[in-house]
Each structure stands twice: as C-alpha cells, then as structure tokens.
Amino acid sequence: MNYVIIGNSAAGIGCVQGIRDKDKTGKITIISDEPYFTYSRPLISYWLKNAVTDENMKYRDRDFYDVNNVNTILGKRAVKIDTAAKKVILDDNSEVPYDKLLVGTGSKPFVPSAPGLDETGYFTFMKYDDAKAIKQAVKPGAKVLIVGAGLIGLKAAEALHEYTENITVIDLADRILSSILDADAASIMQKHIESKGVKFFLGTSVNNFAGKVAHLKNGETCDFDILIMAVGVRPNTELIKEAGGEVNRGIVTEKTQAVKSLTDIYAAGDCTESFDSSVGENKILAILPNAFLQGEIAGKNMSGQEFMYVNAIPQNAIGFFGLHIITAGSYSAEDAYEVADGDNYKKLFINKDKLAGFILMGKYVSKAGIYTSLIKEKIPLSDIDFNLIKDNPGLAAFSRGRRDKKLAEFH
C-alpha cells in the first residue's frame, strides 16, 4: 500500500500513527510546503518569547520518521490532486502517486482588506516562519498593534510582551476571546492582561492605514512599528474543491474521515468540518487534539481498519500571562452555575439534565477533564451527585458501580 499525506502537522502525524497501528510495512510519504521536521504550531508563541527552544518545537521525537519508516518531501507544495491518475502534483511539477491520500492542509490566516494595509505591511502569526520573521523585526520597546483579540492575537501579545510593553490590541467584538469566553470571563481576562500594560480598543476596527498609523472607526489613531493581523483563519480547502470533493466552510468528510464524493482520499484537521456532538451540527473545530484524533482515525481507515470519529466537541486550554482558561462544549443552555472570586471563575452550563459546556479560569481549571467527560459521555446529572461535583470535580460524585469501572478495571 502506498500512502501519501499532505501536511506535516498534528493531522498528518496522527495519520502516520493510525496507519502504523496495524500496517507496519506500507510506504508512507509526507509532503509539506514547510521545510521543517514536524513541529507544534501552537508553540510558536512560546518560541517567540524564548520559552521553547528550536529542539523542543519538535512535535515528535527526532527519530519519528525513521522509526515509522516515513519518507518526507519537505519544502514543496502540493498544487493539484489528479484523482483519475491517483497522483499528487507538486509545485516543481513532480508527481507523487498514491493508493490512499490524506489531506491535512490546515488553515491560513484570513486578512480583511483595509485601505493602506498592503502598503503598510504586516505579519500574520500561524507558522514557524511567521514567528521567525517577527522575532527578526521586533526591537526592544517597539510599538506593536495587533488586530484581533482572539487566541492567536492574544498569544502574540503575550509573546511580544517579552520585548515591549507597548502593545495595543483591537477587535471588532465588544470583548476579548469572544469565541471561547462569555462576557464575565472575558472581562476578568481583559483586566488581567491590561494589568501587564497591554491596551485594548474593542468594538471597533481599522478604517484605514496611513503609513505606520492606523485610523480606527471610533476616531482613535494608533501608531505602530509592528502590525500583526490576527482576525481569523480559513481552512485550506482548494485542493479538495478542485478535485471535486465536497466542501462547505471546511472539507466535508464521513465519520471515517473519507472525503465525501471522492475515492481513497481522506481529510483531517483544521481544513475539515467536524460533527460537534455538544450541539449536533457540523463545525470547524480548529484545535490540535481534534486534528490528531481525526488524522489517527483516517490512518486507521486508510489501512483497512474500521473506526469512526465521533464525540468531537469544542474545547480549549490556554493561558495568558499566567492566568489559565479551560473551556468546552456549548454555552447555549437553560441553566448555569457560576462562581467568581478575583481572577478565578467557573461557569457550568446545564441543559436538559446534562452538562452542555463550561468555562473555568484560574484555580478552577484543576481536574477540568471530569467535566469534559460529563459532556462527552452525556451523563445525566441526576445520576451523579451534582451538588458535590459542581464545586469539587472528582469521581466521588459518581455511583459506586461507575467508579469501580473507572478505578478497578482495565480499560
């Protein structure tokens, strides 16, 4: 069997591990336009603030390709899939034939147009090379403007705080981290980040750039040395779309990760849509654990096993300037349990006797996975001691039988 994987990040690596679960001899080739050994994309902010070395950027041990017998074609871009001839065409016109193909092409920054933006010049913050370019450009005390107060924008702010305290973040939304936090939690985190000297302009956007000055719609102006555009990301779906595969916002797959309307082609990671079991609809869940798990399922199916990817939910674990957040599931619920003291915040969202989602900050992040399991396993809250678990996440709240299963049996 001849496996080809486009993409050298979490989905691609998960696919290798999934294939090698049973198929120890099939040929595996990874193609990536980035010239690097597999590295962890979420670590670029840690690398930028010098908290992670080049060596520790590696997502897997140095001998990963050797141990798993993987050929790599790095620094070349896949530009077309010829489904009739079953081959991938690269940007140097070379061709790579496949029997089974995984597309794990990830996503790219979405940069909205604004007058003067291209002339001004900007950075994005997704790849190793982006972090390297920023590190080279940023001087101590530089004025930094970040457009976008989401996960990427604020991780960039945290990293650049190692170089300068002169950082301004603007966002169209009226709160920071609007994709994962409610208004109360966002307000706590905003104050925490502001206490480090970062300034925010929220509920506004850039009208135009004039040289190194941004004119905002609210009338403010903001001058800068370094501009980072972190408004959002878009899935890289072009290869699949052109090949005739089904694409909505992301690539549409079966639960096996096989791309709908194509044969022997699978997709995984940020370029795809997942079925969010917490709300029952397809969504792009652009998070690393999801990419790995989808890739692994794809690899198992590509190599003849039968596995389905189910039970995906939105989930995030992230920290800014030492204040941690863990969130999961859906926040649209009929009831909520909330505790707040200082920087510590907990909100459990309850719907029809089930935990629908949660937001945990500060000291409340401990043992968050207990709550995650309540969402994923759809455990009726009336079956457990919810009064206990809402304040003390643990196994004591479960029935003895369920607990013995977890603690006294192999699984």
């Binding site: 995030n316 401990s366 043992k367 399991s373 006294a408 049996e409």
Partner: protein
C-alpha cells in the same frame, strides 16, 4: 502491564499514599528530608473523601491515552507496554491534558507556579520497583496488578 487499581472498601482515607508519593518523587532519601527540606515535594496521587467514601486516584495508564493524543508538544508519551510518562522539559503548561483526562489525574505542579504538569509514572523514574503508594498502603486499598490485556 501491571497497573494500580483501587480497592475502595479497604481505603481508610488516611492520605498516607499522598505523602509517600510526594516523597518517592522528591529525589530525597528520607521522608523527613522530603518534607522538611524539599519544598517541591508534591503527590501525583489524590485521595478523594466524601463523608464515609474514600479512595485514591492516580493516572490509570488507560488504553485510550486521551492526554497523550491531545498533548500539543509531544511531552506526554506512551510506551509499548502502555506506561504514560511526561517529559517536563517539553511541557509548556498549556493544560490541554488537564482538559482531557476523564479521571482528573493530571496534576498541575503548583510548586513551580503551574508552569508544568506532572502525573503518576508508576515510580519507574524514581526508586523503581513497586509503586510507593502501593507499598506503603496500610490496608491494601491500592494494589499493583495486571488485570487487562496488554496493548
């Protein structure tokens, strides 16, 4: 592979396993030193108490390893036997594993300000042999046995 299993009926809730776990992972050669001199000592096992209910919980070294699959850095890994270990040099303290572990067994290392996490490694990296929590449990409430098929 042998793993730690809980015999809840026998747990007295004495929490001694937590002390021995902290000692075993402290790098000190006596439990007195571990707690008097080494302020870093902290357990990877946790005794839950709820009224008359007591039981000790640590990493199950489960077959599914959701923490390993979710780890964003590759710091968590599982060996061919099923032992899940952490390379704290590669951990950045993002807590994705804390989010993922359904048993609440990933321990935030409060002694270093939460910069990394830690977990039960069945004492393979310290004194070796049988896990200290099992060895020192005074009532046989934690056992070290092979109860499942090897992966």
């Amino acid at each position: 592979m042998k793993r730690v299993y809980v015999n809840e009926n026998r747990c007295l809730g004495c929490h001694l396993c937590e002390y021995w776990c902290a000692f075993a992972n402290s790098g000190e050669d006596s439990i007195t030193k571990a707690f008097k001199l080494n302020k870093e000592a902290m357990p990877r096992i946790n005794v839950e108490d709820d009224g008359e209910i007591h039981f000790a919980v640590q990493c199950r070294h489960c077959n599914d390893t959701p923490c390993v699959k979710a780890c964003i850095t590759g710091a968590l890994s599982v060996d061919t036997e099923g032992l899940v270990t952490i390379d704290t040099e590669r951990c950045v303290g993002c807590y994705t594993c804390v989010l993922t572990c359904p048993y609440g067994c990933i321990v935030i290392d409060e002694k270093n300000g939460g910069k990394t996490v830690t977990k039960c490694e069945l004492c393979v990296k310290n004194a070796g042999g049988e896990p200290w929590c099992v060895k020192e449990c005074i009532n046989g409430a934690i056992v070290f046995e092979d109860r499942g098929v090897s992966i």
